[in-house]
Symmetry: D2
Subunit: 257 residues, 4 copies
């Protein structure tokens, strides 16, 4: 389980979302309320847009709260669109290459959830990648592979279609449990958020109202500590936040077997 | 607040104390029961004795549960006397040099507690160190300074006296709160444990009964998850574990002002 | 021995100085020409000015060439004044707190050189610091102590005077060899560069001509690989680069004993 | 290019090979003589045998000379068979999972060399792995994939055959340059060393004479700084060092196309 926060709107210092709110992502790294694990100390990452088309990436394996570089960065860097992620793992080694967000071309992507039968479909999904996406894999995380599969299925041309096809590839849930996919991603122009669970609930995601500066935020838990102005994102609805405002679109997914 | 586990007796793999018990130190790093913070993810360290007189030191800034090297080390290394420490911090950067245990000559030392008025006495305590101990300081942690002060006060010749004189240097508790000092340390022959609070309680420390192999363990929380064979160490009693068995000695401390 | 590069002028991406020049600081991290050690792989740091008065700081213990975060940061962040430093050490552990630049208030400072008799004067210099500067020390590096001494001697009011007084504190060279101090620092408005050696040469520092965009750079080795437009900075001359252009001032230093 | 040192014989402290010789592996990390790059600062690793069948692994991304933990470990740990590796990379991020040696079951393996056409054969080699070896991959390094292919080709039953079949899989050199494979590996009982180049030279590997204690060492460069008692290992000869002494065996390899 992990925690995510993201923003799109007029450029603001990253710290306005990641550090300063009462229930900021940094606070959630030690005191998450709506996750199985209250502590998310197994690495973190930020992607942000500004200079050029490709996002900046800053990822490290330390707990977010123990990284002075992160505090400085969040204070100094302004961006009109950024995504931050903190990770909770219960076992095993963390590497930067396995920290979210993952980046490819102008896209960046982070994920919270699980696909319990991933072991059974991983080789098939890797084999289905075209060479350039196969070679673009930097780590060993399942989430990176889901992202690259979405690229292979045309994320650049049809976001809803790429998600549906990738979920189709993943297939129906197996005996090991439901597929849960809560993801936040962007091409630098639009911020996308999406939740899906083959059954039961997928990890929470909330959408802020229009902020004072005209922007909007998305977060695993409301950042301010009160929930009035935050709306829980329903499953199977693709949410787009851009200069054109907020748009939502239901995605028709393959019927569970 | 931190968690400590240590052992003295016939040589055993470090994992028998640090990894394998049901409520091992590694488990306590994510699920401490008797600490303010349930998670101790801000670095860790081990000192162990074997080859030569000086202890081996292994310290890193990662959470203990995220370090594969630690798991390997604990499986492969046997020792007749070792001390392990996991750290919980709430703010600020971690460096290896500030991870416990600290080592000097053949001694190693780790500490759990706080001296709220340390800011007022730090310069005086540093100024009082002889040159070689002043130069031996590797980090900026208060605990390292307490350890070096104990060295300056003759830890090598009179352990109880060095503790009493150091506590005298630290002085009575100030307005900012009570002095709490729970420490575990060794010269390679004897394992020492000591708790002190100027008022109230200092962090817990438990002493195991004689283990099946004839050794004994000391830990912030009983390692097995049951408390029957573990005894809470009282305050102001110095506990020595060595080949001669277990000895305890009350330390007369300066009366609080 | 270390390598330094800094810039003041119209805001540019950090990479224009640190990454892109033919003989950039990143290139110098593996192929320095004018240093005893060709490789500077023991940590690095950047301070940059922009948002607010205090500089941003990004420091890590990895070799600069092995840090993807650094590449991203240098591509995405623009600044009108920044200082970068790569470090070469031959022995001992690196920590972030000992990586240059050091920051205090709105100042940041980096240093290349050595004071061979530092062991003899360190305690005296630390004891002379006022409490707030004593407490501001984060690491154990000599260079940080020199910087804090300069603060204590009024860097904020009289840069040349603070340097002279600090060199006076350091005293004449001892039997162990000459004092060498090449430093680059800033308060966010002005970029300062200074070289001094009690005898012989201190590490090189070059000043660029006016760049195409109107700015200027300072570097241990000319960044472009040709030396025509770069001028070697003489010793004992304080160089100031600001919106008012370039100014130089000879500093009268205590006569060597 | 990297540097390797390994040992088999009566148990000795790791430092006797890695730290103490005049031209030790640690010295080679800063002053390699027979490599393109004199500095090998991009991570390191050690595998050692002792407790149980599986090797201990200690790997980190720091330069070897900057890791105090390594120094302690090498002083404290004794082993009858161990392999150490230091890595030189010129670009890109280092992760522990990509540091040599790699371990699988009771085997550990490290490699120095290059397969310039690896991009063309990588997918095929991965697809050919059985599921358990496919899942055993922890990083993204080509060397790890070569090792897992050797496992798939029966390293456990026929070492020479597994090497020959793997080289057959790799195929003849392409237009991008010759295949170079210098590797050192072990199952805990026997230390193996092997060099191969499809044309030209592969990275050096030297075999020590019988050491004073009856053991033998293998190293990229003679450890003592003199070459009299060290023999350069010829190509295509598999060298086995075990309790039965030294054995060599020529491997018949597929004829280059």
């Amino acid at each position: 389980m992990c925690r995510i926060a993201a923003y799109a709107g007029p450029a603001i210092p990253l710290e306005n979302i990641i550090v300063r709110p009462r229930h900021s992502l940094l606070t959630q790294s030690q005191h998450a309320n709506e996750a199985k694990l209250a502590v998310n100390g197994d690495g973190f990452g930020i992607s942000w847009y500004g200079e050029g088309q490709a996002p900046g990436l800053y990822r490290d394996v330390l707990p977010a709260w123990a990284d002075d570089n992160l505090t400085h960065l969040c204070r100094m860097v302004r961006s009109q669109l950024f995504i931050a992620h903190i990770r909770a793992s219960t076992v095993g080694e963390t590497s930067r290459a396995n920290c979210h967000p993952f980046a490819y071309d102008r896209w960046s992507f982070c994920h919270n959830g699980q696909i319990p039968h991933f072991g059974q479909i991983k080789r098939r999904m890797m084999a289905a990648l075209p060479d350039d996406l196969f070679d673009a894999r930097r780590g060993t995380a399942d989430s990176e592979l889901i992202f690259l599969s979405m690229q292979a299925h045309g994320l650049d041309r049809d976001v809803a279609g790429a998600i549906a096809t990738t979920l189709n590839d993943i297939g129906p849930e197996g005996a090991s449990g439901p597929v849960k996919l809560t993801c936040v991603f962007s091409d630098g122009d639009t911020l996308y958020a999406f939740r899906h669970a083959s059954s039961g609930n997928s990890p929470t995601l909330y959408l802020s109202g229009v902020l004072d500066n005209g922007g909007r935020a998305v977060a695993s838990e409301p950042l301010c500590g009160v929930t009035e102005r935050w709306t829980a994102l329903p499953c199977n609805v693709l949410c787009r936040i851009s200069a054109d405002g907020l748009q939502t679109e239901s995605i028709s997914l393959p019927v569970a077997a």
